[in-house]
Amino acid sequence: MNNVSKTLYPKNWKKPPFIKRSWLRWSIIIGSILYLIAALSSMDINIQRVLEGIPRGQRFIESFFPPNFSDNRGVVWEGILESIWMAIISTVAGIALSIPIGLGAARNLAPLWVYMTCRFIIAASRTFPEIILAIFAVKLFGFGPFAGFIALSLGTIGFFAKLLAEDIENSSPAQAEAVKATGANWFQWINYAIQPQVMPRMIGLSVYRLDINFRESAVVGIVGGGGIGATLNTAFSRYEFDTAAAILLVIIGIVMVLEYASSHLRKWVQ
């Protein structure tokens, strides 16, 4: 407490930097700044056009109000219902396809060649957004909800099979071993040791995927895949923005309901 001991301790302290090597820290900082400059300058923002866009945007947003639920009501509800059916059937089909692929993509269940094949299918399905799948599906199967159904089902595989495989790989080996030790065959083993462990999460994920598929069905329509997206696209191209606003509000409403339902279902399952 005397003066001598006081001078022993430093009077300044700086928080140690997050990246300890200073050359690395500075090159990351300078690199990010250079990237931002390059990216922004190549964006080619036409200020004139944006300024013009402001009153246009204002009018655009104004034309959304009030949302028009009454005109074209039949068309809107038909589109919404088609989207719902599409979402349901593609979720069911996608999950049905995902289960074998997901089992195959779990390293602790499948031999290497099966594992590699299934992982490849998953990676391919995950890389391309549903909309690109939908473009090709429309080319192959013609306009309409069938193309959308195919695109969404394929999209579901990449999502569901991957998570299923990861969940199986993370499941408790002790439980799996215990059931195996009873002399169960492969199917019994899956049924008794693996299924109970992954089931609750998978049910939650199915509802979540149903939610995603419904939202995605709103866009596959833009390229001709049927559903509410087709209706929305028509509304936009006819400049019927009040109808478009109504459609968007309905989509938001349904997504909220689905989200609420899925959180409740997950609680109920666990």
């Binding site: 001991s5 301790y9 430093p10 009077k11 300044n12 302290w13 700086k14 928080k15 140690p16």
Partner: protein, 261 residues
């Protein structure tokens, strides 16, 4: 002097955690608060610095009625009350030094604290305290890299750098092993003597309470059922606080310890 007058707390659930506590603690006294889980020990000390809002009654520290303060004045008063927590409650992803310096937050403006620009005096004091508890080299380590005992020492430094008049200590040894528990209690006790601090220590361990405090208050169901010297803890008293149990082993061990110390 800390005065508690008719301090009452009823939780929203309807539980009456404190039933009108009256207590006077003179400056420089180290008081141990014992009692079973749910007796209201944590609630009592949290009602003093109003981490828990008391329902009724008052807590008066050096003539300031804490229960009547506006939120700004309350923050000012909290600077004078250091608190040490059960699970250390260090901000785990900050460095040891930041954790210690966070004890000065009430004195430092927002931007200065945001940029970690604490006054030189505070930094110097932080280093001195860390040296006092033997953690000088750990200053730049992240708090989650430390062991339990080390974390609690950092927690002590954080409380002391506030330059408090009163130390509120909530189960400081609950998550520590027996040996570290004693070291921590000894350290708290020594620091209180050095600085002439008043302290209220919540503690489960009757033995430690007897070893390291001058006065013991027993709490049961939100009421004070014992207030006296550590030596006065007879089996009858313990039964009153905790309920029926064979206390002879506890008491005997206490006697042994006392001889040692």
């Amino acid at each position: 002097m800390l005065k508690l007058e008719n301090l009452t707390k009823r939780y929203n659930t309807g539980d009456l955690a404190l039933q009108g506590i009256d207590l006077r603690i003179p400056n420089g006294q180290v008081l141990a608060l014992i009692g079973p889980s749910g007796a209201g020990k944590s609630t009592l000390i949290r009602c003093i610095n109003r981490l828990v809002e008391p329902t009724n009654g008052s807590a008066i520290l050096n003539e300031v009625n804490l229960t009547k303060l506006s939120s700004r004045a309350l923050r000012k008063s909290r600077r004078k009350m250091g608190m040490i927590f059960q699970e250390y409650a260090l901000v785990e992803r900050l460095t040891v030094m930041e954790n210690v310096l966070s004890g000065r937050l009430g004195y430092v403006g927002f931007w200065k604290s945001f940029l970690r620009r604490f006054p030189k005096k505070d930094v110097n004091e932080a280093f001195r305290l860390l040296d006092r508890v033997g953690l000088l080299e750990m200053a730049d380590k992240r708090a989650d890299e430390l062991s339990g005992g080390q974390r609690q020492r950092v927690g002590i430094c954080r409380a002391l750098i506030q330059d408090p008049d009163l130390l509120l200590v909530d189960e400081p040894t609950a998550s520590l092993d027996p040996k570290t528990s004693r070291q921590i209690m000894r350290l708290i006790n020594e620091l209180c003597q050095e600085r002439g601090l008043t302290a209220i220590i919540n503690i489960h361990d009757v033995l430690l309470a007897q070893m390291f405090s001058q006065r013991i208050v027993g709490l049961a169901l939100g009421n004070i059922v014992y207030d006296g010297s550590p030596e006065g803890l007879t089996p009858e008293v313990l039964t009153k606080i905790y309920g029926e149990e064979d206390w002879s082993a506890t008491i005997e061990k206490v006697d042994d310890e006392d001889e040692e110390v």
